[in-house]
C-alpha cells in the first residue's frame, strides 16, 4: 500500500536527498508517494508544518529546536528523525570589503582565524573613523548560518551584536543586496555563495566546514504528534532519505544529481554552480581557480545523516549565548527530545547498516571548531 507524504523544502543544495528520494525512486521503494513542495520562506515552512499542510519539511536544525522550545512563535514540539547532511555553507563578502581584508592580511582559502583577524582590523578601523558599521546578512535567526557567522566573528573578538549589524535576508535576495552595497557580506548555503562569486560581486572568505569541520545543517523535521500517529511513514521516510543521501554521496552520481537540482522545480541554478558545492571544489574569487575544500558538503558519509543529540544541544547553547532564550534547566530535556536518534535507529534496523554506538558526541579536533574549543554535550552551557 502506498502512503502519501507531503514534504516542504527551500531551494538549496542540501534539499538534494529529498530530490533524489523522489527522482531515483527511493521513496517509491519504501511505498511512499512523496510529494515535494517548494517554499519561499522559512517562516512558511514552520507554519505549514504546524498547521499540517506539510507532513514534514527540509528544516534548519535550530528551527526544530526553537519550535519545540516555543521561541518566537507557537510552541509546537518538532522531531528530527534524520539529518540531511553536514556542511554546505560559506561566508561571502563584497569585493570592496575583500580588498580591505586582503590588505589587512586575509588570503584566499586561508583559515578562519586569519580571515577573522583581518576583518577585526577593518571593523576597528571603521569604528575609529566613525564610519558606518558593516552589515552581514544571514537567512534566519534560528539557523546554523546565524550561529556559524556569530561564532566566527566572536572568535575574532568582533561582537556580532555591537560591532557589526546582522540582518535576515532570504537567499534569493542576497546576491543583489551585495551588488548594491546594501550589505557587506553574508552567510548562506550553496549555491548562493558560488553565484555571488560567479557574477563577480563577492569573494568567499571561509566555509562552514572550516569553522566547524563536521558542522550540522538541515534536518527532516515533523510534528511530534504526526510522528507518533504515523510510525510507518516516519520509518519509510528515514529509510528513503538514508538511501537517497548515500546515492547523493557517491561521486559517480554527482553530475546527474546536479542536473536534477538544476531543474526549476528544485533549486533552479546552473549545473556548473551546483557542481562546485557537490564536489567540494569552490571558486573563492571572481575569475579564480577552483580550490578543493575537504568535506565542504557531505550528504551521507561519516554518519552525516545521524541526528546527533549533541547537535541539538549545541544549537541550544548558541541560543542562550546570543540571548535568544534564557537558560532554564527544564529546557535540556525538550532540546534532547527534538533530535531522535532512536527513531533513526529503529527505522534503519531493517537495512542492517552500521550505526554510531552513541547518541551524542563531544565536538573536538579533528572534527571540531577552528579555534580549538571543545563542545561537551554533558555540559552544554559550559562555554
Amino acid at each position: 500500500m502506498t502512503e502519501s507524504v507531503i514534504v516542504g523544502f527551500i531551494p538549496l543544495l542540501d534539499c538534494a536527498p529529498l530530490a533524489a528520494a523522489v527522482e531515483k525512486g527511493f521513496a517509491a521503494d519504501e511505498g511512499l508517494d512523496l510529494t515535494l513542495v517548494r517554499e519561499t520562506s522559512w517562516a512558511n515552512i514552520r507554519d505549514r508544518v504546524v498547521v499540517g499542510h506539510f507532513d514534514a519539511a527540509h528544516m534548519l536544525g535550530p528551527m526544530a529546536v526553537a519550535s519545540t522550545l516555543g521561541i518566537g512563535h507557537l510552541q509546537v514540539p518538532i522531531v528530527a528523525p534524520i539529518a540531511l547532511g553536514v556542511g554546505g555553507n560559506a561566508i561571502t563578502v563584497s569585493n570592496a570589503l575583500w580588498e580591505q581584508m586582503a590588505a589587512a592580511g586575509a588570503e584566499i582559502g586561508a583559515d578562519p582565524a586569519r580571515q577573522g583577524a583581518a576583518l577585526r582590523e577593518i571593523v576597528s578601523g571603521r569604528e575609529r573613523d566613525g564610519a558606518r558599521q558593516l552589515t552581514f546578512a544571514m537567512v534566519y535567526p534560528f539557523s546554523c548560518h546565524n550561529y556559524a557567522l556569530r561564532y566566527w566573528l566572536a572568535a575574532a573578538q568582533i561582537d556580532p551584536d555591537r560591532d557589526v549589524r546582522l540582518v535576515v535576508l532570504p537567499p534569493p535576495l542576497l546576491v543583489d543586496a551585495l551588488r548594491e552595497h546594501q550589505i557587506d557580506g553574508f552567510c548562506v548555503g550553496e549555491p548562493w555563495n558560488s553565484l555571488a562569486v560567479d557574477v563577480g560581486v563577492g569573494h568567499i572568505v571561509t566555509t562552514s566546514t572550516a569553522i566547524w569541520r563536521a558542522s550540522p545543517e538541515k534536518v527532516l523535521g515533523c510534528r511530534l504528534d504526526w510522528a507518533e500517529r504515523h510510525p510507518q511513514r516516519v520509518g519509510a521516510l528515514v529509510r528513503a532519505l538514508y538511501r537517497a543521501a548515500e546515492w547523493c554521496e557517491h561521486p559517480r552520481n554527482r553530475e546527474e544529481l546536479a542536473h536534477v537540482l538544476a531543474e526549476p522545480r528544485y533549486v533552479g541554478a546552473p549545473v556548473d554552480l551546483l557542481m562546485r558545492g557537490l564536489t567540494s571544489s569552490l571558486v573563492f574569487a571572481p575569475a579564480g581557480l577552483p580550490r578543493s575544500v575537504e568535506s565542504f558538503y557531505v550528504p551521507a558519509r561519516n554518519a552525516a545523516t545521524f541526528p546527533w543529540r549533541s547537535h541539538a544541544l549545541w544549537f541550544y547553547s548558541q541560543m542562550v549565548r546570543w540571548r535568544q532564550i534564557e537558560a532554564k534547566p527544564e529546557h535540556l530535556a525538550l532540546v534532547k527530545a527534538t533530535y531522535r536518534p532512536d527513531l533513526y535507529r529503529a527505522s534503519l534496523h531493517p537495512l542492517h547498516v552500521p550505526l554510531p554506538p552513541n547518541d551524542t558526541k563531544v565536538e573536538r579536533a579533528p572534527n571540531g571548531f577552528f579555534d580549538g574549543k571543545m563542545f561537551d554535550p554533558a555540559d552544554p552551557l559550559a562555554c
Binding site: T40, N44, D47, R48, L74, D161, V167
Partner: protein, 215 residues
C-alpha cells in the same frame, strides 16, 4: 524582485516608545507585492470601517514604514520571501512595539490554519485583545480566499482561451492542407480526440506542432 533596502534604523539603545492613546481605530499595515490583492484587502477593511489602513508594496524601507505607521496588526502575503526579514525585525528591534506572530496561543490553531490556507500571515502587537482583532483576521482570510478564487478563475479562463486558439489553428491547417471545410476539420479533430482518448486541445496542439516541424 526589488532588493530590500537595509536602511532601517535599529535603535538598539533607544527606549520603548510611549504607549499611544487608546483608540478604537486600529492601525493596520498590509505588506503585499501583488497590487490587486493588497487593494482587495484594503477595500474590505475600509468598508468595514477601519480607516487606518496602509498598504506597502515595495520592500524598500519596510522598517521605516512600519515605524511611521506604528501598526497594531500587520498582514503579509505568504508568497513573499521577505516574511523572514519581517519576523527578524520584530525580534531584534527595540523601536517597534513587538508584533508577534498571530495568536501565540494553542487554542487558536484553527485561525492560524485558515490564514495559512488563504496565504496570509498576520502579526499582532503583543497584548492586543483577541476579540478586537478577530474580525479583521476573518476579513483578511476571506478576502485572500476570494482573491485566490478570482485568480484561479482568470487563469482557467485564460487557459480556455489559449486552447480555443490552438483548436482554431489546427482547423486552419487541416483546411489548408487537406482542402477540408471548417466543419469537417473540426469533426476530424473531435473524432481523433475520442479515438485516442485525449482532449481536443491536445490533439490540436500536436497538429500545430507537427505542421511546424514539417514546414
Amino acid at each position: 524582485m526589488p532588493p530590500i533596502a537595509m536602511a532601517w534604523p535599529l535603535h538598539r539603545h533607544g527606549s520603548m516608545p510611549e504607549e499611544k492613546p487608546t483608540s478604537d481605530a486600529l492601525r493596520i499595515l498590509i505588506v503585499d507585492q501583488n497590487v490587486m490583492r493588497g487593494s482587495v484587502l484594503e477595500d474590505g477593511l475600509r468598508e468595514a470601517g477601519y480607516s487606518n489602513v496602509v498598504v506597502v508594496r515595495d520592500m524598500q524601507n519596510l522598517m521605516r514604514r512600519i515605524l511611521d505607521n506604528d501598526p497594531d496588526v500587520i498582514f503579509i502575503d505568504l508568497e513573499n520571501p521577505n516574511r523572514d526579514v519581517l519576523e527578524q525585525m520584530f525580534q531584534v528591534s527595540r523601536c517597534v512595539r513587538r508584533p508577534i506572530a498571530m495568536f501565540v496561543d494553542r487554542s487558536d490553531t484553527d485561525m492560524i490554519e485558515a490564514a495559512v490556507d488563504a496565504g496570509v500571515g498576520a502579526y499582532v502587537v503583543d497584548g492586543l485583545k483577541k476579540e478586537r482583532v478577530k474580525s479583521i483576521l476573518d476579513m483578511a482570510v476571506s478576502r485572500y480566499n476570494a482573491f485566490a478564487k478570482l485568480r484561479d478563475e482568470l487563469e482557467r479562463a485564460k487557459a480556455a482561451l489559449d486552447e480555443r486558439k490552438v483548436v482554431e489553428r489546427a482547423k486552419g491547417i487541416l483546411m489548408k492542407e487537406r482542402g477540408m471545410t471548417e466543419a469537417a476539420a473540426y469533426a476530424l479533430l473531435r473524432r481523433a480526440a475520442m479515438n485516442e482518448n485525449r482532449r481536443l486541445a491536445e490533439v490540436a496542439q500536436s497538429i500545430v506542432t507537427a505542421a511546424r516541424l514539417l514546414k
